[in-house]
């Protein structure tokens, strides 16, 4: 590719690529090296000093954070709320999406239901922050993981419904009809044919719901005070009277990135298109 381009284009390309890569990768680099520093070394070399060369890296921060009860509690809260709400979203979302794609509703047309789900998706969550707070207070759920699971499910469900609906719309209905004629109920056709074929869509949607719940800050801040604090809320509380403790913020930031990143790596083989190839083409 380079051989046929002029020097100017080549230079431009290289500069652009280097800038873009640096821009994207630098925060991670900074986070990692800072998390390996002790507090004396934080500001060395304008905070970008290289480990081993400019300072001796240490796992002290990581060990300290992981042993911190608040951290353990927040990690547990984040993991439970994100996973449980994602499971709810996927179970309800795939069923609702399937119903919207396959059945015709008489009283309220399918299109209107879909648009209603979509409207929930574009609604700014902050608009319902106070009503949610009052509802949770009335239900006695303030500062509980249940409150967070409920609110995350509320906000991620429309996304799951819309994505799964459009996936099922693309899936040829004949395969499920074949299952119906072959002796299965609608649920049988859904679980044995439609659902296995929608694995890529299910996995991608679940990952996005998981990430959204994992990163959620507004409702976590609003609805939790002590027991139900999640990682984002914990990180934001990293500024103390002693000033910003960068080594701690960096460690917590990296800790927050790790679980979703590992998740994505684990399931990436499912996120492949073309699983339906060969079903209906000649």
């Amino acid at each position: 590719m380079f051989r046929k381009t002029s020097l100017a284009t080549r230079t431009f390309l290289i500069i652009t690529l280097v800038t873009a890569t640096t821009w994207t990768a630098f925060p991670f680099y900074w986070g990692i090296i800072t998390s390996l520093k002790d507090r004396e070394n934080v500001n060395l070399w304008f905070s970008v000093g290289l480990p081993f060369l400019h300072y001796t890296p240490t796992l002290e921060n990581w060990i300290g954070e992981l042993l911190l009860p608040e951290m353990q509690h927040a990690l547990l809260n984040s993991i439970t709320t994100a996973f449980v709400s994602t499971v709810f979203c996927m179970v309800i979302g795939s069923l609702a999406g399937y119903a919207l794609a396959r059945f015709r509703f008489e009283r309220i047309p399918n299109r209107d239901i879909t648009i209603w789900f979509f409207s929930l998706r574009v609604l700014p969550p902050v608009a319902v922050a106070i009503p949610f707070f009052i509802m949770m207070k009335t239900l006695g759920l303030l500062d509980t993981r249940t409150a967070l699971v409920l609110s995350y499910t509320t906000f991620n469900l429309p996304f799951a419904v819309i994505i799964m609906r459009s996936f099922f719309l693309e899936l040829p209905p004949e395969m499920e009809e074949a299952a119906l004629v072959d002796g299965y109920t609608r649920f049988g056709a859904f679980f044995r044919v439609a659902l296995p074929l929608s694995a890529p869509a299910l996995v991608s949607t679940a990952l996005i719901c998981l990430a959204a719940a994992w990163n959620e800050f507004l409702f976590a801040l609003l609805l939790s005070s002590k027991n139900a604090i999640t990682i984002p809320v914990l990180i934001s509380g990293g500024e103390h009277s002693r000033g910003v403790e960068f080594w701690m913020v960096a460690t917590r930031g990296m800790l927050a990135i790790l679980p979703p990143a590992l998740m994505a790596l684990l399931v990436q083989r499912f996120i492949v298109r073309g699983l339906t190839f060969g079903a209906v083409k000649g």
Binding site: V181, L197, L275, G278, A279
Partner: protein
């Protein structure tokens, strides 16, 4: 083994015109019935109503004597073969064949035996462990057929099962289907828009147009005695030649008077007396039209002046396109008796004649047949 009975079945989609109107049909046990008609004539809808995949707006469907209007597809014990195969891509060939048996809780050893014997019969036993995406079109079609056969259902419903195959493979699979139906002898309803498939496979043909039955008859009758203009024009390739005429009585004989010609009817053309003075539609198949020098008809008609527009070679036949006034006639001529040289005859003035033993006459208004040979 079962009969299928449809009584005045009508299907309307909400706020729409009926797509199937007053459809009544009795399919006998072990019979192979073919629904034939143009795209959108409602033939697939009828099939899907028999399968239970579409609700019935009005009327009744009985399978093996039992009313199935409200019965779920899984309880009707019919098997369906879809146009696009609809085999399960996430299952192996074995899984596809065994899928319906699993639903019916057939014990494992029996299931194994049935799947293997059907796979063997269809020549796909080598692919049992393969996923459908590694199979060719013909093999997928066999899997789809196998999935239906292995269930040993009361009836097969086939929705244009061969239309996705290429021409050569289609002819081959048509032959195999024909063999299979003889071997299995299961009641079958087969939908197609391909008249060759219909004429070769069916015990009886149901010709449909615009949601209505046009004619129900065996293939020979459909071809030789079409009930109306639609059936006459739909079956046969190339299509029957039609021309408008008026029945007139002159010199004690009945004549068919067209715009530029007049043909005297022969005594074998019956039933026209009631139509004197009325307009009719006459039809002759290409094989009953010939240039006068080739005509070997026993009872040939008056000669018509025409001009040759084109000659098409079609294997052992030549199709001669000759226009007579505004009417374009197609004549089929066997090449064996000497081929026409295309560039030498185009534009030539010729005289054509019909075989009066092969003429069809339809009422202009109702389009129903008045006389068939």
């Amino acid at each position: 083994m079962a009969t299928i009975t449809l009584k005045n079945v009508t299907k309307c989609y909400t706020k729409g015109l009926p797509v199937v109107k007053n459809f009544s049909l009795d399919v006998a046990d072990r019979e192979f019935v073919v629904f034939l008609g143009p795209s959108g004539c409602g033939k697939t809808t009828v099939l899907r109503m028999i399968a239970g995949l579409e609700d019935i707006t009005e009327g009744q469907i009985h399978i093996d004597g039992a009313l199935v209007n409200e019965m779920a597809p899984r309880d009707r014990d019919v098997a369906m073969v879809f146009q696009n195969y609809a085999i399960y891509p996430h299952l192996t060939v074995y899984g596809n064949l065994a899928f319906g048996l699993k639903a019916r809780k057939v014990p494992k050893p029996e299931m194994d035996e049935r799947v293997k014997s059907v796979a063997k019969m269809l020549g796909i036993d080598r692919y049992l462990e393969r996923k459908p995406r590694y199979l060719s079109g013909g093999e997928r079609q066999r899997v789809a057929l196998g999935r239906a056969i292995v269930r040993e259902p009361k009836a097969f419903l086939m929705d244009e099962p061969l239309s996705n195959l290429d021409a050569k493979l289609r002819v081959h699979m048509r032959f195999e289907l024909s063999q299979l139906r003889r071997k299995l002898g299961i009641t079958t309803v087969y939908v197609t828009h391909d008249q060759v498939e219909a004429l070769t496979l069916g015990d009886r043909l149901v010709l449909m147009n615009a949601g209505e039955i046009q004619q129900v008859a065996d293939p020979v009758t459909i071809y030789s005695r079409p009930a109306n203009v639609f059936v006459a024009s739909f079956v046969g390739s190339p299509s029957m030649n039609f021309f408008d005429a008026q029945v007139v009585r002159e010199n004690g004989a009945l004549w068919l008077a067209g715009e530029v010609f007049k043909i005297r009817t022969t005594p074998n053309v019956a039933g026209l007396d009631a139509h004197v003075g009325k307009p009719v539609v006459c039809g002759v198949r290409p094989e009953a039209v010939a240039l006068v020098e080739h005509a070997a008809f026993q009872n040939r008609s008056e000669l018509l002046d025409a001009r040759i527009d084109d000659v098409e070679p079609v294997g052992e036949n030549q199709l001669i396109y000759a226009s007579c006034g505004k009417i374009l006639f197609v004549a089929r001529k066997e090449v064996a008796s000497g081929a026409l040289v295309r560039h030498a005859v185009i534009g030539k003035n010729v005289r054509i004649t019909f075989d009066m033993d092969q003429i069809h006459i339809f009422d202009k208004g109702t389009e129903q047949a008045i006389h068939s040979p």
